[in-house]
């Protein structure tokens, strides 16, 4: 009876639904068609035309960046455990599994910060494994090798640290902090003066091109100067209007420098066969963010290093000639060790040569004008 009643009831309900559908069929059809059209129109307008779908994808990829920023704040606040836990989670889910992914640098930041967190927590094995992963992720990024080297040094793994620092120098032969640190490590072992000399020679002779700007008023020209402590002469087109009077400025962007004589060569003129007499300016240069030493050379103190001299050119100029010498970064402490090592190796002639081509000064970021 109950079953009969239940079935009868369901049949009744279904019949009711069917009647309702039949009664409202037209409306439902219209609602369905309108609804589907509206949904597609919305999807198309927002998703495609307004690039809404693309924004969603961009947002999706930006999520890990937000979390990384949070982890950085935790690290800054000294909450290394929390930072490490968050970073482990980010790393486990990070989409950049290989360096070809667009978020490769973000992954490197995650790993670097995670490794540093482990170092702060004195978790050696995890720290070194993380840095190994970092280096394997992009072995062409010298910063990854540097981070690993620093961690190894922090854990007093000297041999491995030395090898890691040398990897940095293989990729970036003029990375001064690495040269300084590695020299310090070698110098501390007194019998390794030869290695200090070798390391210094490698740094000293590593080819480096520095970008310098020469400007007179609003006109400027870029010059690429080898950073080798040797003078290099430049003779380039440079238009200066007649009767110009103002500052000639040389910006070395953080390189220590010696600036030779400046000559402004007037243009020849059609049909006029007259000697070309350049206007020569051999006076002193006024430094900004740099200091003059007793040999007439300037030690740069910041990336804003520049040098100015007042010039007046009644005849204008078509070319400029100038001699420039740029020096690689050198610190007092490092120079002491280098000098001592050369002396202890009895390499006095070589020492004299490098001394002539070295200025204590310069900044790490000198010349870093290139784009990532």
């Amino acid at each position: 009876m109950r079953g009969l009643l239940g079935e009868a009831r369901r049949e009744g309900e279904l019949a009711g639904v069917r009647r309702w559908l039949h009664a409202h069929e037209r409306g439902l059809i219209v609602a369905w068609l309108v609804g589907v059209s509206a949904c597609f129109a919305l999807l198309f307008a927002w998703g495609v035309w307004q690039r809404g779908l693309e924004s969603v994808v961009s947002w999706w990829y930006a999520r890990s960046g937000t979390e990384l920023a949070r982890a950085e704040r935790l690290y800054e606040a000294g909450r290394f455990e929390d930072a490490a836990a968050l970073l482990e989670r980010i790393d486990a889910n990070h989409p950049a599994v290989i360096v070809k992914h667009r978020l490769d640098q973000e992954r490197e930041e995650v790993l670097t910060l995670l490794g540093r967190s482990y170092v702060a927590l004195d978790k050696k094995k995890r720290a070194l494994e993380t840095f190994d992963t970092l280096v394997a992720f992009d072995p062409r990024n010298w910063r990854n090798h540097y981070a690993r080297a620093e961690a190894l040094r922090a854990f007093v793994e000297s041999d491995l640290a030395e090898a890691a620092y040398r990897e940095v120098l293989r990729l970036h032969p003029t990375h001064f902090p690495t040269v300084e640190t590695l020299t310090g490590m070698l110098f501390d072992v007194a019998t390794l003066y030869a290695k200090v000399v070798e390391l210094h020679q490698q740094y000293f002779n590593a080819w480096l091109l520095g970008s310098v700007e020469l400007s007179l008023g609003a006109t400027s020209v870029g010059l690429d100067v080898p950073v080798d402590g040797l003078p290099h002469a430049f003779d380039v087109p440079f238009e200066v209007a007649a009767n110009f009077a103002g500052d000639a400025r040389v910006a070395t962007h953080g390189y220590s420098a010696r600036i030779g004589e400046l000559a402004l060569v007037p243009a020849q003129h059609v049909g006029v066969a007259a000697p070309i007499v350049p206007a020569i300016f051999a006076g002193p240069w006024t430094p900004t963010a740099a200091k003059l030493d007793d040999q007439g050379r300037f030690a740069a103190a910041s990336k804003e290093s520049s040098f100015a001299q007042h010039v007046a050119v009644p005849n204008g100029a078509a070319r400029v000639r100038i001699e420039l010498t740029l020096y690689k970064q050198m610190s007092k402490d490092l120079w002491f060790k280098v000098e001592k090592s050369y002396s202890n190796r009895l390499l006095f002639d070589q020492l004299e040569d490098v001394r002539r081509r070295t200025v204590i000064g310069g900044v790490l970021e000198a010349g870093s004008l290139f784009e990532e």
Binding site: R102, V272, A273, A318
Partner: protein
């Protein structure tokens, strides 16, 4: 109810909710699928942020899918007809585990670099290969058609390559642009369009490129050396937080191929060059340019302009520079040139730093225009491009249609029409540049009568100043500029302001010419080059000013100018007086001062304590009887011609000053040395040297020079270095010379030719003669007691060894690595091994193949030693101590003639009755290469021939168990009455009952030549037929296979075909 109402009611009843749902739900599902799929496609591509990803949008993905759906029927129809077993066109038939392949393809990031095992169908057998997905940007791996690289299994090659790259991107334009370098005489990687079938399903048309490594160098006859690679554009390749400009940062270069000889210094040499390239002075610029071939740079630039792409070999990638170890020069290898519109360069295009530096020399651009003028003349370049595209269309028309129907779903493949249009437009643009020689001019006479003529080039093409028209004849006297030692003169005289100081001065260059009434004509036209502004992607002219001073002129002056390339007259425009002359960024051509040559003479007893360098414009003469002693490591480096003619009674000698210490090298380098001669000269105690970045591995070395001859010279006891005399890319003749006690090899040729005749070579510590990729003629020499080989023939060498005697060596002759020497009328006796053939260097894929003709190889412990992957062709020779059965000599003049020999072969071994003249190549010469060309080069099989394809041995016909044949049509007209004609076919058989060569004349009976089927298949023979004068239409080989072949298959091999015209009287 009316009928209308009834109809309305009926139609309303037909439109039900269910019906609407049934109709619309699939459409809704399709629409949702399109959205979701497009979004996922977009998301997948946006994992990367390269140029490809940045160009993609969701709507495009959707549209492409809809379009693909509409085209699907035609795609299916075409696909049904594309067969992996098509024998009429080349293809790659690749088999992989599809699941593995799809898994890697769908998870490109997670499984990047994972190798997939596969097999390729190579002539009916499956050979193992490794496959990896590849590509620098996401276009290569984010569609259904993915670029990949194949690597043949260890010890094997595929189509002659160990590694092959297949690119899906821009197949047609990239193929055209990267196959055109050969039209400009520039060596480049092999490339081809290849259809790929994956698991017997058409996967797509790809562009094959050979990998850039040492194998490429050898394949293109370049000495193994460093190839510096700068390819750091994309993620995973570039070095973060570093200077990215390659020409500013040495640390981001590496080497694609390495020169590991002791004299090589890794990338340090490149660092030296970059230092000079970035120099600020003209001297540094000249130093940088001294590492390069300027003419080659011009041709490279011409190629890039023709393709519209001087940008893609950029400052961050596609830089490959080969360092030639024989000269120290750097040669750029073109890579990944695009086909672009020269007038519409892509946004952000710019010239790389090195190219901007090169173009500061106006002669580079001028050379490029000259090269382009040659290519445009007669439509030469366009015709070459059209040939390539027509061939692709003919061969792969249906596949191209299939690929175009997949547009949007796969990387763009391009069309041949678009490619040719682009080339045509670029050449039209360049043609306007070639004719654009415009000059401005002003002439001003001062109060002393000195006329100052200022000219400024303003077009893109150079002009030539051939002289002047002056207002009347002048015989006035004049005095030279102060300080000039010249005496006074009369009549018009001209100086160029070559010291660029603006005034008439002693540093100026006198320009010679002839005055004829009112015209002064220069002996040699003055070339007025324009500069080039490279600051923007579209090249523009940058003016260069030229000043001349004239004396003794009267009246007005008109310069006679013409276009350098078209020789059309040029009318100079006016240049107002007192206008400032703009300073140019280009190096003025007059900065380069000619280096005067000098004549150096050595005579008597002389000691050299430092290296003597003879410049390219200088000469060195060593007089008869001169005795030179050279200090330790002291060398003579000659870049200019050398004449050292001693006599039998007064020879010239060079020895070491200190007995235990070798002198360096007598080195000759470059074409300034061409034609140098040495007679009756004795060399002893030299030890090789490293000079000007080049390692000279011999006591005497000849590099990059032609026709250098040593006659009656002796070479004895070199120390330290390998060779007594060494030739690199040279043409060196050694006539009646003697070599004794070599420290390594007596004579060593690399990629060289020349004649080695009547020489005596004894007691070499290694080889008597060592040839690598060489083609010399070795005649009448006696080689004895070599501790290794009498003659070593390696790495694709093809010398002729004629009439030599080799005795007492470890191995008489060793033939390696696809070398095919002709060993004719030689005697090889009392050697441990008579002739050995083997594969030594895996890069060649196959061993040596000597052709032994009328020679004797006897009294050896092992007469013949042949490894796997080697062959031999024997023709009328005695191999082994034959007892009574000594073969008769054969007439092989048809073979000798191409080397210039005519011989009366009356016996085996060395003969006296022969002459050497000018080589005469065969009328017809056919060889077969296993490549991506037509599978059988147009030969057709019939009957029982199951397969016909090109392999390492040549053209190979594989038979079923019934008779069959294969052949080709020919069109030979052999009707010169002064000639007799010989057809020679190098053939072998395997498990054949009978085989014959059939030649079909246009009229008359066939000529049939039986082929010996009893030999080992690695022992080839020459099937020879004398062809009566007449016309011939067909060539065929046919045979009957063994019913039970031991090897499993019956085959007929054809290695080479020659038709030779001999003088009718010669027999």
């Amino acid at each position: 109810m009316s009928a209308l109402d009834r109809r309305r009611t009926s139609s309303k009843r037909r439109i039900t909710l269910r019906g609407v749902l049934v109709f619309t739900v699939p459409l809704v599902a399709l629409g949702l699928y399109l959205f979701v799929a497009s979004a996922l496609d977009y998301q997948r591509v946006q994992q990367f942020d390269d140029w490809n990803a940045r160009s993609k949008h969701v709507d495009r993905f959707g549209f492409d899918r809809v379009r693909a759906l509409a085209r699907w029927p035609r795609v299916c129809e075409l696909e049904a007809h594309l067969s992996a077993e098509d024998e009429t066109r080349p293809l790659l038939r690749l088999f992989v585990d599809q699941n593995h392949f799809d898994a890697v393809g769908n998870d490109i990031l997670g499984r990047w670099g994972e190798e997939i095992e596969g097999t390729v169908d190579e002539h009916g057998t499956l050979e193992k290969v490794g496959l990896k997905l590849r590509g620098d940007t996401s276009v290569h791996w984010t569609t259904v058609k993915k670029s990949f690289a194949l690597r043949a299994d260890r010890g094997r090659m595929f189509k002659g390559y160990r590694q092959l790259a297949f690119s899906a991107k821009d197949v047609l334009p990239a193929y055209l642009a990267n196959s055109l370098p050969s039209e400009f005489g520039i060596k480049c990687a092999d490339t081809a369009v290849v259809p790929v079938f994956l698991n017997d399903r058409f996967y797509g048309l790809f562009r094959f490129t050979e990998t850039l490594d040492e194998s490429l160098l050898r394949r293109h006859v370049m000495l193994p050396g460093n190839v510096y690679r700068g390819d750091t554009a994309e993620r995973g390749e570039y070095f973060k937080h570093q200077e990215r400009e390659l020409f500013k940062n040495l640390a981001i270069w590496d080497r694609a191929a390495k020169n590991d000889r002791p004299g090589s210094t890794g990338t340090a040499a490149l660092g030296e060059w970059l230092g000079a390239l970035n120099g600020s002075t003209h001297a540094e610029f000249e130093e940088a340019m001294s590492w390069l071939d300027r003419d080659e740079l011009s041709r490279m630039l011409a190629l890039m302009l023709a393709c519209g792409d001087p940008f893609h070999m950029s400052g961050v990638h596609n830089q490959f520079w080969y360092e030639d170890p024989s000269s120290g020069l750097l040669h750029q290898i073109p890579w990944d040139i695009r086909l672009l519109d020269l007038d519409r360069p892509p946004a952000d295009s710019h010239f790389n730093r090195a190219l901007r530096t090169f173009l500061r020399d106006p002669r580079i651009f001028d050379g490029a225009l000259a090269e382009l003028a040659k290519q445009i003349e007669g439509g030469k370049l366009f015709a070459a491009a059209k040939r390539r595209m027509d061939e692709i269309e003919t061969r792969f028309g249906d596949m191209l249609e299939y690929e175009h129907l997949r547009e949007g779903l796969i990387p763009d493949i391009g069309t041949s029409q678009a490619c040719l249009s682009t080339i045509e437009r670029n050449l039209a643009k360049v043609k306007t540049w070639i004719g654009d020689a415009s000059v401005a001019c002003h002439a001003e006479r001062d109060s002393n009568g000195l006329l100052v003529l200022d000219l400024e080039t303003r077009g893109l093409a150079a002009a030539e100043l051939t002289g002047f028209r002056v207002g009347g004849n002048s015989n006035d006297e004049w005095s030279p500029p102060p300080g000039d030692g010249e005496v006074t003169g009369k009549g018009v005289a001209v100086w160029a302001d070559s010291d660029l100081d603006g005034v008439w001065s002693v540093g100026d260059r006198r320009v010679d010419g002839i005055q004829a009434w009112d015209t002064f004509v220069f002996d040699t036209p003055e070339i007025l080059y324009p500069g080039v502004d490279t600051s923007r992607p579209i090249l523009r002219s940058a003016p260069i000013a030229y000043r001349y001073f004239l004396v003794a002129t009267r009246g007005d002056l008109t310069p006679n100018l013409r276009s350098r390339h078209t020789h059309e007259p040029v009318v100079a425009s006016a240049w107002p007086k007192d206008s400032p002359i703009a300073a140019s960024d280009s190096w003025h051509p007059w900065l380069e001062k000619p280096k005067p040559g000098r004549e150096i003479v050595l005579k008597g007893d002389m000691q050299l304590t430092e290296t003597l360098v003879v410049g390219a414009t200088s000469t060195l003469t060593i007089e008869a009887g001169t005795h030179l002693t050279l200090g330790p490591n002291v060398s003579i480096l000659a870049k200019g011609k050398v004449r050292a003619r001693g006599t039998e009674s007064a020879p010239i000698t060079i020895t070491n000053a200190v007995k235990q210490k070798p002198w360096g090298c007598f080195a000759m380098q470059g074409h300034g040395v061409d034609g140098s001669e040495f007679e009756w000269m004795n060399f002893e105690g030299g030890g090789g040297a490293l000079l000007d970045r080049v390692e000279y591995t011999g006591m005497v070395c000849v590099h990059n020079a032609k026709n250098v001859t040593f006659r009656h010279c002796s070479f004895d006891s070199n120390m330290r270095c390998d060779d007594m005399i060494h030739a690199d890319i040279a043409d060196l003749n050694l006539l009646a010379c003697s070599f004794r006690n070599a420290n390594g090899d007596s004579v060593d040729y690399d990629m060289s030719g020349g004649e080695i005749r009547d020489c005596v070579i004894d007691r070499s510590a290694n080889d008597g003669c060592d040839f690598m990729t060489c083609w010399p003629t070795v005649v009448g020499c006696t080689i004895t007691n070599s501790l290794d080989k009498g003659i070593s023939v390696g790495e694709a060498s093809r010398p002729i060894l004629f009439g030599n005697t080799i005795e007492g060596c470890n191995r008489g002759i060793e033939v390696k690595d696809t070398s095919e020497p002709v060993i004719a009328h030689n005697s090889i006796r009392n050697c441990k091994t008579g002739i050995r053939a083997r594969l030594k260097n895996w890069r060649y894929g196959y061993g040596g193949w000597p052709k032994v003709v009328n020679s004797i190889v006897t009294d050896a412990k092992t007469t013949l030693e042949f490894d796997n992957k080697t062959h031999m062709t024997v023709y009328g020779s005695q191999i082994g101590n034959g007892g009574d059965a000594v073969p008769a000599p054969v007439d092989a003049n048809w073979l000798f003639q191409q080397f210039g020999f005519t011989a009366k072969s009356d016996r085996l071994g060395p003969i006296d009755a022969f002459e050497i003249g000018t080589p005469r190549p065969p009328l017809v010469h056919v060889e077969f290469a296993d490549d991506f060309g037509l599978p059988s080069d147009g030969w057709i099989r019939a009957g029982g021939v199951r397969r016909l394809d090109k392999r390492l041995e040549g053209l190979v016909a594989t038979f079923k168990r019934e008779h069959g044949g294969f052949g080709t049509t020919v069109d030979w007209k052999l009707d010169d009455p002064t000639k007799r004609y010989v057809l020679a076919v190098e053939v072998a058989t395997e498990d054949m009952l009978t085989a014959e060569l059939v030649i079909a004349p246009t009229s008359g009976a066939e000529i049939v030549v039986p082929i010996d089927t009893s030999r080992d298949p690695t022992r080839f023979e020459f099937a020879i037929a004398d062809l009566p004068r007449g016309s011939y239409r067909g060539l065929m080989l046919r045979g009957v296979p063994n019913s039970a072949p031991k090897s499993g298959s019956s085959r007929l091999y054809v290695h080479r075909i020659d038709v030779v015209a001999l003088d009718a009287g010669a027999r």
